[in-house]
Amino acid sequence: MTDVAVGHNVHAEHAPAPPPTGLRRLLAPGWLRAIWMSALFFGIGAGITVLVRWLETWHPIWPGSVIVTVELAAVPFGFLAGIGGFDYWARYASGAPTLPEDHSGHGARSWKDYFRINTDHKVIGIQYLVTTIVFFVIAGLLAMFMRAELARPGMQFVDNQTFNGLFSVHAALMIFLFVIPAFAGIGNYVIPLMIGAPDMAFPRLNALSFWLLPIAGVMMVSSFLVPGGPFAAGWTNYTPLSVHQPLGNTFFSMAVQWAGASSIMTALNFLVTIITMRAPGMTFWRMPLLVWANFTTSLLVVIATPFIAGSQFFVMFDRVMHTHFFDFTAGGYPLGYQHIFWFYSHPAVYIMMLPGFGIASEVISVMARKPIFGYRLMALSLMAILVLGFSVWAHHMFVAGMAPWLRVPMMVTSMVIAVPTGIKVFSWLATLWEGRIHFHTPMLFALGFVSMFVIGGLSGIYLAAVPIDIATSDTYFVVAHIHYVLFGGSLFTIFAGIYFWFPKMTGRMYNERLGKLHFWLTFVGFNLTFFPMHWLGIQGMPRRVADYVPKFADLNLFISLASFGLGASTIVFLYNMVTSWRSGPLAPPNPWRSMTLEWQVSSPPPIFNFDEIPQVVGNPYEYGVPGARHGVFNGDRAPDFEEVPTR
């Protein structure tokens, strides 16, 4: 992977300062300082807790669960301060002279730079993607354990609590540490390039928001190590169950805060970048649809994410501080939790889907060699989904015991959301029509996404219809549905995006043959795994169970075997990524003959993206229009003079 840096256009003046020596190494931002500062903050957290309890004469003075809760907030701050996340602001706030920006935090010269605070959006994008893929693999392995247990009825490998932990951590990692941040990673890399900006609007904030992510992930995974096991109340963490859970549950509540803070900061950054840093001529109606998609997604994140943060704080307060937000014996309201939770978590489905819509639009238009069909309606339907997405949360609660009259209005809004979604699907199909379609791997994943997402969307219609939802809620039908949406939808588009921009990010081509093999293994394995789950659910298999009645044994065995195949297909992907990154053939600047700006610069792009700011003169998808241009560079204009080489 050391080869990565080779393509970067490293200017001499951006060379890093010589590494500090001796004791100064302890004071310079980096892993050494992160270690001792984490320890220091651990001490501060524990010290304050014990001191307060001693002064108030609370017993025991050294309560394990309280200390752990405090440390889950304190230690990450120590880590972030140590790694250098706050350096600039700390200097500024304390009145010390801020360091002049020498851009040493830009670009990656060796693989080591990916393990440091780096303010380059391209480095951060890759940091995001690699980190999320690591957690994707971990969460996938948890799913494999689950399917192993479910292969036969009865209990074989794990006990009930561990099984509940497996699916809870699987879902939490996939949602908060894979799908949401993987899209943020792709967006981070691509958006500034697409809109002709040198970087994100707030590069330091960008770096900080990335480093919150591994904290959240490590926190979730490490809940396996605490007494009582990992959090096991589902990723939904419904009260009152979550309030009575062992210590591991606090790890979920806190990890969600860190992951949520990360995604809010990234979303703000996207919004400001998109609004203020577009190249001259890049009006809103000339933005590529991926930029539109991330714009709407960021609005969703900024508005909705505080709700899940609040809901998890309430749960944690109920657990640790003996408040009674959801404790019915003290006047609390258990359904209140669900309302707050789903007010985030339904929009979260669109947070996990809209960027995928954007990626699909880019890939399909470029690879069908046609303008995207109905560009304005595509953008407007994103906005429609954004607005409607906030009005449907209670369709997760049709059987929850909420006010009965709320069901029909929520059904109607949920149904209506199918209309803008349908517009997008039909527009993609119309884009394909009479195109010159090139079936490269990203296109296969994009078309796989359209077809699988249609199935997920249609089963969503079933679940939106209240009577059917009453019958199928909380069963494997729902498991099938969300996997068709989040696997067939989000994951397929993430793969499409990774393959599509792999040449741009690494400067090398991936192996097309392995890419296609990966697609077909994933596509077939995915359908064999998840389609039969519809039947299981309708027939009476509830979700989130470690054990089931013997009549479902054969089909579950089949599903488990298929899922192992699906898991194995990831090995092809990882192998392809690693080998191609190390030694794939060098990529040309624009292998897909795309019009958008990121392809008009070298692969990988120069350290500040554009050596000259492009001028946007047309729409981004004008394939087949003679003479059409999206962006022009100065160099493209007819030169006024002939440059005479002097020697």
């Binding site: 096991g229 109905g374 059987v399 394909l432 059917i468 509830p542």
Partner: protein, 331 residues
Amino acid sequence: MLFGAGAAAVALLIPWLPDSASEQADRIDFVFWFVTAICIAIFALVAAVIVYSLLKFRARPDDDSDGPPVHGHTGLEIWWTAIPAALVTAISIVSAVVLSRNDHLPQASAASGQGDPLKPLVVDVTAQQFAWLFTYPGFDKVTSSTLRLPVDVPVQLRLRALDVIHSFWVPQFGQKQDAVPGMVTKLVITPKRLGTFPVICTELCGLGHALMRSESIVTSRDKFTSWAKGAGAGASATVSGKTVFMNNGCDGCHTFKPAGAHGAVGPDLDKLAELARRAGKPLDEFIRESIVKPDAYVERGYPKGVMPATFSTLPAAQLDALVKYLSGGSK
């Protein structure tokens, strides 16, 4: 067309729905097929366009030409906004009508049947980790751990939860409802077919969630009435420890041979004497304490706070009977 036929075959040839056993499930099935017909049409259209494009519009690798620069077609866009909107409106209307019918509970008319416990039959459902308990207020508060229902009689379930949220579901009845602590939620079922059907908890409720199953037995009206009256008479006489054990769902988590219980969530109650020795307490006292204050002593290897503390509210006679039953069994 081909895809429509294929999808229709998948829809029709596989027995997707469980055999309906209630009037409500019949109506739900109708909505299901209504939605399925629409969805098959849409899926067939999408799949056909994708596959047709795949075959017809494939470009050769050396083909660098672009497609026709079509930017949109307002008419087409209006149609594919309007038609789906009309379809989902239709689905919404059908769903709303079925929902209101399924929620409707026929009341006894003033002239006849006032005071008849079968018009409608009311059942109080109590859910707790990890067992169901069914009480019949119209029949001297008879309790049972299986849900016995008469055929063709509208039933109103009033659900309560003692600890966490549970959810009541019988796949063949179609209907489902969460039981939420601190609330009473309601559900209407009109069984239309004799038989035994599974009762399943569908809301994750902790360790024993997967095992929180029971049965619903639908019998004729007469059989039901005689059972309800007979069971009521039996219950009021003497309290049997075994009845308490089963009615409170102890078998959901514990193994206890005399009761034929083989739960695997909590400690094996056949080894109670050994457990008491380890806790250093006399057997009877140990059993009583473990039921009433389960966290006072937790056997090694089992997590704290899993056994519900709600059994402390058992009536004294039932508690005595249970302790006696358990200690007798372990000798």
